[in-house]
């Protein structure tokens, strides 16, 4: 995992797998940036990720719920086909935008 802070936007280059096991670790780390006031926007970069299950949806949605009241945004980018499918089926694109 790689966390890159540019201004108040945190870019996270996600690992290969996003499941319940690593979700907890990622959430804690991201929320650290948010609660300390360093990050107002979060971008998940899934370029290396080829597995994500419903726990990943929880991670993305959870950050969205946290940042929305603060006027921040959550975006995703570089989704490979397996992760894209999870996003489509879950309806996550109704809420989360793709960064282009």
């Amino acid at each position: 995992m790689e966390y890159i802070l540019k201004g108040d936007t945190l870019l996270i280059v996600m690992d290969r797998d996003l499941d319940h096991h690593n979700a907890a670790i990622i959430k804690e780390k991201i929320d650290g940036f948010i609660y300390s006031g360093q990050a107002k926007n979060v971008i998940f970069d899934f370029k290396q990720t080829n597995f994500m299950d419903s726990s990943g949806i929880g991670v993305v949605m959870g950050r969205h719920r946290l940042l929305k009241p603060l006027g921040g945004t959550v975006k995703v980018k570089n989704l490979r086909s397996d992760v894209e499918r999870i996003f489509l089926i879950s309806g996550l694109y109704k809420i989360i935008e793709k960064e282009v």
Binding site: D17, D19, D53
Partner: protein, 139 residues
């Protein structure tokens, strides 16, 4: 001829990856497509995560996984001897979760249903839950 494998794992989250990769490796002899493998991995991951998070509620326990191949069909069961599900119909509804504070999305059963051909859930309070899922490969 039926081919069978059986796996017992501790109910700890680092085993979620191990479980789905092991099932995927077992199924690979049917020459599934990448998409079929992704389907199975996701469904197994959801069921095993449910057993750990809900069945055992984060406590110690054992998750029992069997996988059977019969011609071109895969049958997977994932069983826990945990707390059981009070209302299975409700649990299967999209977005329903008993743990919203843990950011559970309530999509686990939806994915199992979407990615597999069939899914049955058998559960008894204080006794545990058995998930049975099947999928035909190459259809």
């Amino acid at each position: 001829m039926k081919k069978r494998m059986y796996l017992e794992i501790d109910s700890i989250s680092e085993n979620e990856n191990f479980a789905r990769v092991t099932v995927a490796a077992f199924v690979s002899r049917l020459n599934p497509t990448l998409e079929e493998i992704a389907d199975i991995k996701t469904a197994v991951s959801e069921a095993v995560t449910n057993a750990i998070v809900h069945g055992y509620d984060g406590k110690e326990g054992i998750v029992y996984i069997t996988c059977e191949i019969e011609e071109n069909e895969v049958h997977i069961t994932i069983e826990d001897k945990g707390i059981g599900i009070e209302n299975v119909d409700k649990a299967r509804e999209p977005l329903y979760t008993t743990k919203p504070d843990d950011e559970r999305s309530g999509m686990g059963f939806v994915f199992m249903e979407v990615f597999m051909d069939s899914l049955t859930v058998e559960s008894k309070i204080s006794e545990g839950t058995i998930i049975r899922m099947s999928k035909k490969i190459g259809e």
